[in-house]
Structure formats: C-alpha cells, structure tokens
Subunit: 204 residues, 2 copies
DNA sequence: CACGGAACTGATTCCTGGGTAAGTTACCCA
DNA sequence: TGGGTAACTTACCCAGGAATCAGTTCCGTG
C-alpha cells in the first residue's frame, strides 16, 4: 500500500508532526476567538476548519481554556514586548510610537489584540484572570504616560489618571477593531491616520 | 385562612400585580445583564434574585431574548432621547454636553449603558441586531460632531471620521464602565472629570 | 357560592457544547 | 517482522441553561 493520502480509512495518522499541527490550530483558534470571542467560539468549529477532529485539540491543548491560554500567551507576550520596547519618547509622541509598534506587531495576525481584549470571557474564570494580567502590564505602561501628561498640566488627581489610562487603552482597542473591519488598510496607513486624528484633537 | 404571607403553600399568587412584577424583573435583569453580559446571564439567577420562579419570567417576557429586548428598549429609548435633546452646542462643547446628559440620565440606573453596549451578544442574533440599531442612532449623532470637528481642521477624509466616531463612542462606553467601577462618584463629578481630561488633552 | 382569570410553582424536556474512552493507522527501529 | 509510539478518529457521556407542561392558590364578580 502507498503511505497515506488515499482517504481510504478515516482513522490513523496523517503524518503532520505535532508542532506543525499545534501552530495550525493556534492560528485558526486565534481567528475564531478574535472574531466571535471566547464565549461564542466552539471547538467543534475550530476542529472542522482545521480539518481534524475535536479530540486532537484536547490532546494538544487539554481544554478550551488551555487553547485560549495558548493563544493568549503568544499574543500577550508579543504585544507586551513590542510596546515595552518603545516607551522612550515624551508624552504624546510616545503614544504615537506605541500605536505604531502595535500596528506593526499585529500586521501578520491582527486578531491577537482581540484575543487579549476579549470581552466575552466568563466572569471569575481563570482565563479572564490570565487575560487581565496581560492587560495589567499594558495598563501599567500606559499609566506612566497618562500620569506624566496630566502632571505636566498640574493635574495630580489619581482618579483622573486612572480614568484616562482606561480611555487610552480602550482607544487602542477601538482602533484595532476598526482595523479588523477595514482589512485593506495597512499598518503604516493606520499609524498615519492616528497621527492625523491626534493632531486634529489637539489643534484646539 | 388569612390571605397570603403564611408560606404555607409554595404555589399560587403572591398578590403582586403584573406591572409591578415586570418592573422588578426588568430592574434585576438590567443589573445582571449589565454586570455579566447577555451570554453569562442566566434566567435562573434572575428569578432567584427576584424571589420568583423561572416560568413567571417566561410568562411576562416570552424568552431570554424578550427579556433582553425589554431592557434594551427601555435603556436605548431613554439614552437616545437624552442625547438627541442636547445636540446644539458647537464642537467639543457639544461633546461635553453629551456626556453630561448621559451621566444625568444614567444616574438612577447606570447599567443601562452596559446593556446597550453589551459585547457578549451572540454574533448574528436578533438581539445583537436590535442593539446595533440603537447604537447606530448614537453613532449617527456622534458622526455629525466628528465630521464637523475634522472639517474645521480641513480634514475631509471619511475614513478618518469613521474611526474617530468609533473612538468617541467607545470613549463614552469606557467612561461609563469606569463609573460602574467607582460607584461613589456622582454624575456631576464625572462630568467635571471629563471636562478636565478633555482640557488636559487639548492644552498641547 | 361557583367560576373564571390572574399570579404563581415544581418538575420535566431538550439541546448545545465541553470533555472522554477506546480503538485505528502508519511509521520507526531492534 | 513484530512491538512501541506518534498521530489520529468515531462514538459517546454529561452538565447547564433555555424553554415548557401541568398544575395550585387566590380573588373578584354575577
């Protein structure tokens, strides 16, 4: 008999090494999670899209949570690293640098941000806690910027800073979501657009 | 026998007229939906919190969708009306007026905005479509403002305006969520805080 | 005082989706 | 050439939550 390929029997190996299969699953899962959110993502669909069966996913990722966490870690680590590397400019310039870095990092897989900022994670779940920890890192980075900006205006209200930090990160989230809805736009265009809008807001 | 109250038998009327009961259910449901989102709200919990049984909810609201839609309509109508009534100032003043109106309207039931902006609505569902229609109205109102603001800066890019409108509404959402996390703040304080932050951003 | 309707419930059904048990195929190597 | 292992599958279980059935109690009214 020839090796495989002949679709003779459904069971048995297809010759795809674990590592490769894992990467494939991860990519598809990220897309599904990014589009529909954790709550509305079904592993059955992920398996179908990957052309495999559900148990294989469980074999490699243990559970739905495990799969989400794998997507989250890949996304979170990459984003946090990229953003951290760019925190040196001053005030609003730094903000622009940050979004530029985010767009660049996200270019190959834009859904990563949506996975990180998934709003459908079950309240009190471990997946939510895990996502919050990654977000926390970004919040801490952003917090430096907002405190700085407000201090320069003689505003030292911590609650003001807290709210502004929240606004900042949700603005990034919104912009990335808008990007997902406009797939034809590239990273550079997005960065330029953000710069324009920021300037427009400032030109009081 | 005395009328009710005696907890003798579980079945039978408790003497609460339908209208009153409906209002009570609506309030509790709005809280649950606002806190956990549609996807993670269970009617069993709503019933328990109201001290009634699940079938009564179905009797009055037909389905989970029906209950959500009732909450949505009450919230949406009120918010849209309040915001519409305040669209007369110019540019950023109008933005401030709008958030002030929103805070004032939301004061008695802050979760209303979270119901309207629920991120856990199932993709493609009728509830989502309904919510989107209400959001659309707010987006159209906001759109006028952003186009105006950008035009004043000689920017006539529709995509810029589209993104900025999105940012605007998500900022409102973020601010209201922050408010939910800081229950001790009142509407007036929130308005003042927003004014301060806007000024800080502009003072380039 | 019967009776119709309004307010309500316990128990059940049904279905979706996460998770598992047990078995199948192919390849590698002693 | 026969085990051992890696890569798979079919068929199933089961919890939880939406939705429903078949009533029960109470009150107003002719």
């Amino acid at each position: 008999m020839y090796s495989c390929r002949m679709a003779k029997s459904p069971s048995g190996t297809k010759g795809v090494p674990r590592e490769e299969r894992e990467a494939q699953i991860l990519d598809i899962a990220t897309e599904e999670l990014g589009m529909h959110g954790y709550a509305h993502t079904s592993l059955t669909v992920v398996a179908q899209r990957a052309g495999i069966s559900k148990p294989l996913i469980y074999m490699y990722f243990d559970s739905k949570d495990g799969l989400y966490l794998a997507c989250l870690e890949r996304a979170g680590d990459q984003i946090v690293e990229a953003v951290t590397a760019v925190q040196n400019g001053v005030a609003l310039t730094r903000a622009l640098d940050t979004v530029a870095a985010i767009f660049a990092t996200l270019e190959p897989r834009r859904q990563d941000w949506a996975v990180l900022w998934d709003e459908t994670l079950p309240p009190g779940s471990t997946v939510r806690e895990a996502a919050l920890q990654y977000r926390r890192k970004l919040i801490d980075l952003g917090s430096v910027g907002t405190h700085e900006l407000l201090a320069a205006r003689d505003n030292h209200d911590d609650l003001d800073a807290s709210m502004m930090t929240e606004i900042w990160l949700n603005t990034v989230t919104t912009v990335v979501r808008w990007w997902l809805d406009h797939p034809e736009q590239d990273a550079a265009t997005m960065t330029a657009r953000c710069a324009r809008l920021l300037a427009a807001l400032q030109a009081g």
